[in-house]
Symmetry: C2
Subunit: 196 residues, 2 copies
């Protein structure tokens, strides 16, 4: 997605350890008009899939998801992160391991808003190891609903998450795939190709 590529090149910052910081428009400050374009692009890529709900993860997934919700005319549910597992009724919970932080966190949703018969689009801001996306997919499966696909704003193509999810048969649509951050330079994968 050209507008997103341009924004990353202009406002993204490459930090040591293959970190791409996009606090200027996605993860802290948010450009609402870019989010609107992103929402439309997700809707275009998943049109005809019969999506009835969008599931995302707080906090950075919310803005692009709300805009996709407008474009697809469906409600958005955001899973909450919880530090510790407490016994709470009426929740579906999944455990997500963070390789970056080397900790496990629970994510959970109420049992009230997604159920069998729903077709769910999973959206997240970043895809690296794929553990957060797997956790969201697990939550959808616990509800008995179907996963229509996974929409990602920025995929780190040099990490294994995207391949892992595609190998499992999921439709993964990433609006920008970054194949390298070497020497502080962002290199994008060509549009329309999901392999190196």
């Amino acid at each position: 997605m050209e507008a997103l590529h341009q924004k990353i090149l202009e406002h993204g910052r490459v930090l040591p350890g293959n970190v791409l910081k996009v606090d200027a428009f996605l993860n802290h400050q948010i450009d609402p008009f870019l989010m609107q374009e992103i929402g439309k692009e997700f809707a275009e890529r998943f049109k005809g899939a019969g999506i009835s709900k969008i599931l995302t993860l707080e906090s950075s997934g919310i803005a692009p998801s709300i805009m996709a919700g407008i474009a697809l005319q469906v409600p958005v549910i955001f899973a909450r992160k919880r530090k510790s597992l407490t016994l709470v009724n009426n929740l579906y919970t999944s455990t997500v391991y963070s390789y970056t932080k080397q900790t496990s966190n629970d994510i959970s949703i109420s049992k009230d808003y997604i159920s069998e018969g729903d077709v769910v689009l999973v959206i997240d801001d970043f895809l690296a190891n794929g553990q957060a996306a797997l956790g969201l997919v697990d939550l959808v499966h616990q509800t008995g609903a179907d996963v229509a696909g996974i929409g990602i704003v920025i995929e780190k193509g040099f990490q294994e998450g995207g391949q892992m999810l595609r190998d499992k048969g999921f439709t993964v649509e990433s609006l920008a795939i970054v194949d390298s951050l070497e020497d502080g330079q962002v290199t994008f994968r060509e549009e329309g190709t999901n392999v190196l």
Copy 2:
């Protein structure tokens, strides 16, 4: 705001302890079209104030803020909640006491996105004791920017936060003011009146 009142009456749930649960459309599942209306209403109420940025708090403040950002054509920054104060450079931090949880949490923003000369609209989903709004206002003041006002989706008019903020001279615009949750019934304050 009539559409919001209707939504609260139809989908809000009153729980013991004066809790109004709006997980069905604001705090967990989000109705993106209601958020769009809310964004337009905030923009209408604060038009002419010269707003250049919106500041909100993760996670439930993000959706209404993004829509206000579209309507006002300005970027949105969301403050992050942090459990413990760690020495981090390049952050403004404020401490927010939660009467409900009886704990203090730090909220923080990067020094990069709001600065002197900015005119900031503070938005949050709920206003009860007003401590979160005060924390956001404190962050804006640390940056040297001006606070244009405080936009609230749902104010609990029977708690002291709204009065306290208005007494301090802030323009507080709440799209729904709930004056009572007694006997499980939601009673709204009449539009256009800020006093009981």
